[in-house]
């Protein structure tokens, strides 16, 4: 493994701010994310965490502030300066985005195998056999029965759809994955399975990730670092176990105290 301290950060946000007219989306968010680091952004509804995720993943434009990303060639670019073609290419190869609702991140009427193979075909893979083999490999990795790879996700359960979404994103070996409440809406046992899968994949593939969640248990399980948000502001940030075991701010203490004991 390369020297950790000398490594350039992968994603840097500086003073990231977004206003919706007179309503604050989020304000002055600054952090640096390195390779292999997972950061959870937690907060309740209206905290600004979803706005932040959309800003980072270039889905909406910032009112102020910047986002820099270190591309595969080692050059760090200001994302606002990228052309549309570059942006789409980045979103399709080096990044992943896992939506809370898997139907938003999948083509529901196209087979599971094609869903996973699409990114490959988009970057020029032209051998059906190889595309299919790679897709079935990934389906296996996310614990989807390969026998169902030719069925459309309309026939899949919620947990399966979410796992398919993950496979679809990871097939291009992205370095950074954005996740928006990845376990939201799933049954508890399904959640546990999915979290475990994510944990394993993040470790195996040395992914960096920004995970938005309202569930502190998810944050504890998946992330190294955590950012607590409320009303668009960053309340507290630091190591996950630090912030959750030794919360400093009043709001963080409230959040931590509000978790129902198992």
């Amino acid at each position: 493994m390369s020297a950790d301290h000398d490594e350039e950060p992968l994603l840097v946000a500086e003073g990231l701010t977004r206003w919706y007219g007179r309503n604050l989306g989020c304000r002055d968010v600054t952090f640096a994310l390195h390779e292999g680091e997972v950061m959870a952004v937690v907060g309740e509804s209206g905290s600004g965490k979803s706005t932040l995720l959309q800003l980072l993943s270039m889905q909406i434009e910032a009112t102020a502030g910047r986002v820099h990303y270190r591309m595969r060639d080692g050059v760090t670019r200001d994302l606002a300066m990228l052309g549309e073609a570059e942006r789409r290419f980045l979103a399709r190869t080096d990044w992943g985005y896992v939506h809370q609702d898997p139907t938003l991140g999948l083509r529901m009427t196209v087979s599971g195998g094609a869903n996973v193979g699409e990114r490959l075909m988009a970057v020029g893979w032209r051998h059906y056999g190889r595309i299919r083999a790679t897709a079935s490999d990934w389906l296996d990795r996310v614990e989807i029965d390969v026998a169902r790879m030719d069925e459309a996700p309309l026939t899949y359960s919620g947990g399966m759809r979410q796992r398919l979404q993950i496979a679809r994103n990871l097939v291009s070996a992205p370095r950074l994955v954005f996740m928006d409440e990845p376990t939201g809406g799933l049954d508890v046992s399904v959640q546990a399975r999915l979290l475990d899968l994510l944990r394993g994949l993040v470790a195996d593939l040395r992914l960096s990730a920004v995970v938005v969640t309202h569930d502190l248990a998810v944050a504890r399980l998946l992330s190294h670092r955590i950012m607590v948000m409320r009303g668009g502001e960053v309340i507290e940030t630091g190591l996950t176990d630090q912030v959750l075991d030794d919360p400093r701010e009043a709001y963080t203490q409230l959040l931590v105290a509000s978790i129902l004991p198992p």
């Binding site: 493994m1 390195h34 546990a192 979290l195 475990d196 470790a203 630091g238 190591l239 630090q242």
Partner: protein, 232 residues
């Protein structure tokens, strides 16, 4: 480096905002150092702040004053002032922590729990699993259990998995919070043997141990934490 770990005038208190902002002082003026191969045992009654000291060294707790210097090759890193990234790196390479209770992750098997720190530090899964198996065998965890998630194990079995995980990597500093609390005499002896080995290999150890016999066997220095009780 002659000193592996040094605490200088470390203080910790909690501000309980939900209880009207009351301030709970835990420790103050904590000062001691540990040499490679040395084992320091923190003693004192419950609530004296022993676990808090360990957690501050590991970076789980923040400290509001003082320095916690960890030897890192040719220089020292102050945990109290380190960035999250630096602390993550320290945890991977320098400081290990064996907590009092195993935090069991739902579906991960015992052998994977034990192997995980090695894998995160760069070892292959196969190599890590092999060493994990050896360690589990040594701690008398029967092989049929290795493939099962530890959540259903007995307290003693869970703790032995926890110990295996903590003792497996070769780390210069090891923090132990009641490592033998739920163990029978036979496994107690295994653990004290492991501690002795670590000391021989040059690891610096800070431990919380209640059992006087175990304490006598592993401690080079005993520090009574009540001397660091915070002024009211």
């Amino acid at each position: 480096m002659s000193i592996a770990l040094e605490l200088a005038d470390v203080a910790k208190s909690f501000v309980m905002h939900l209880q009207g902002g009351v301030r709970l002082s835990v420790v103050s003026g904590v000062t001691f150092s540990v040499r490679p191969g040395e084992c320091i045992v923190l003693s004192g009654p419950s609530g004296a702040g022993k676990s808090s000291v360990l957690k501050m060294i590991f970076g789980s707790y923040r400290c509001e004053r003082g320095r916690i210097l960890v030897a890192q090759r040719e220089s020292y890193v102050d945990v109290a002032r380190a960035t999250p990234r630096q602390i993550l790196a320290l945890r991977r390479r320098t400081i290990g922590y064996v907590s009092q209770f195993l935090r069991a992750v739902p579906r991960v098997s015992a052998i994977d729990v034990v192997a995980e720190p090695l894998v995160l530090a760069g070892a292959t899964r196969e190599a890590a699993a092999k060493r994990a198996a050896e360690m589990l065998r040594r701690l008398n965890v029967p092989a049929p259990l290795w493939g099962l998630p530890p959540a259903t194990f007995s307290g003693g079995e869970q703790q032995r998995v926890n110990i295996a995980r903590g003792f497996l990597p070769d780390l210069p500093i090891l923090l132990l919070d009641e490592p033998t609390a739920s163990l029978d005499p036979e496994n107690c002896a295994v653990v004290t043997g492991l501690v002795a080995e670590k000391k021989k290999r040059g690891s610096a150890i800070v431990a919380i141990v209640h059992d006087p016999q175990v304490r006598d066997r592993i401690a080079d220095v005993v520090i009574d934490v009540t001397q660091f009780a915070a002024a009211a």
